[in-house]
Symmetry: C2
Subunit: 192 residues, 2 copies
């Protein structure tokens, strides 16, 4: 589906900085999750210290009229299966820091809780990034649209076609984490 691609200059510089006193594994598989009750995006990116490769990306969907309990159970079981299949080393999520609608935030909280618990059950560290930081990291602007992110993911990871939009967001989250742990960010991320 994809081929490896050289990282931008800033990331390359960071990788070189990391080489000096490297503590992180050079071959890292990151799972990005764009959580939502009805359509959660998941995307796996491999990073070998110099380039990134998309291993898989897809949406996990729930039926529009399914009960909340059925949706949450489905998300958890699908993610569990995905973790067993792709065996990521670390997981990154989109953080929720601004609430336009508390009811929506609560529902999203339900889905996020299930995903985080599933990752923790698999022994994986989980990190979160602010939506604007993700957009900034992958497109250079904090106000990028979903379509801009999809196009950037296709170009950046040499995909043959545009990823589904939630899956594209998931890849963007995974790439943000790779950028961050490569040292582009001033501070090392803290697991949640």
């Amino acid at each position: 589906m994809t081929r490896g691609r050289q990282l931008p200059g800033s990331v390359m510089a960071a990788v070189k900085r990391q080489d000096a006193g490297a503590e992180r594994p050079r071959n890292l598989r990151v799972l990005g999750i764009d959580t939502s009750l009805r359509s959660t995006g998941v995307g796996v990116v491999d990073f070998d210290g110099t380039s990134m490769r998309c291993v898989d990306c897809r949406p996990i969907k729930n039926k529009p009229k399914a009960l909340l309990s059925a949706c949450l159970q489905h998300l958890g079981s699908e993610l569990g299966e995905y973790l067993r299949e792709y065996k990521p080393d670390e997981v990154a999520l989109e953080g929720i820091f601004y609430f336009r609608n508390a009811r929506t935030a609560l529902l999203l909280g339900h889905a996020r809780g299930v995903m985080i618990a599933e990752c923790a059950k698999a022994g994986l560290p989980v990190y979160e990034y602010a939506p604007a930081k993700i957009k900034q990291a992958v497109t250079g602007t904090g106000s990028a649209t979903k379509t801009q992110i999809q196009r950037m993911m296709m170009r950046c990871l040499n995909l043959q076609e545009l990823p589904q939009e939630d899956a594209g967001d998931a890849l963007a989250i995974a790439i943000t984490h790779v950028h961050n742990i490569s040292g582009v960010a001033a501070l090392a991320p803290e697991p949640i």
Copy 2:
């Protein structure tokens, strides 16, 4: 720990109404859950059609400084074990309908999501009740304090001692569900 106790008159009338065209099982085990990230209360109540009995109640606690992911994983695994041990037929939760603090609501949403998914995984129907409705059902007033609920649970279920406060709330939620499915409520509850 407890002995069965006759239900109040209103519930008894409802039970008689139910007898006429009974569709619900006469022996029902209800698990009540008072969800919280740091201390979730769980309580199991048996209802034989005329009286209720407390089977167990306890808090599931998380360490104050544990990571969110560790807390959620612990809640899920403890509840899973509890479900296997006590095998309830139905589950009732406190609903969240009013948000004083969206950040708190989101964190509570994480914990609720994990609990609901765990119950759904065990094939159990999950119901929710508004906090004021629970207080009204067990104390007669929608503004009862935690202590009033603890005392009422001790009296109503013939407990030997005051239940821990979150465990007491969980019992109150279970009793509200029993009241509701016995026909005290005008409408049958819908699973979430």
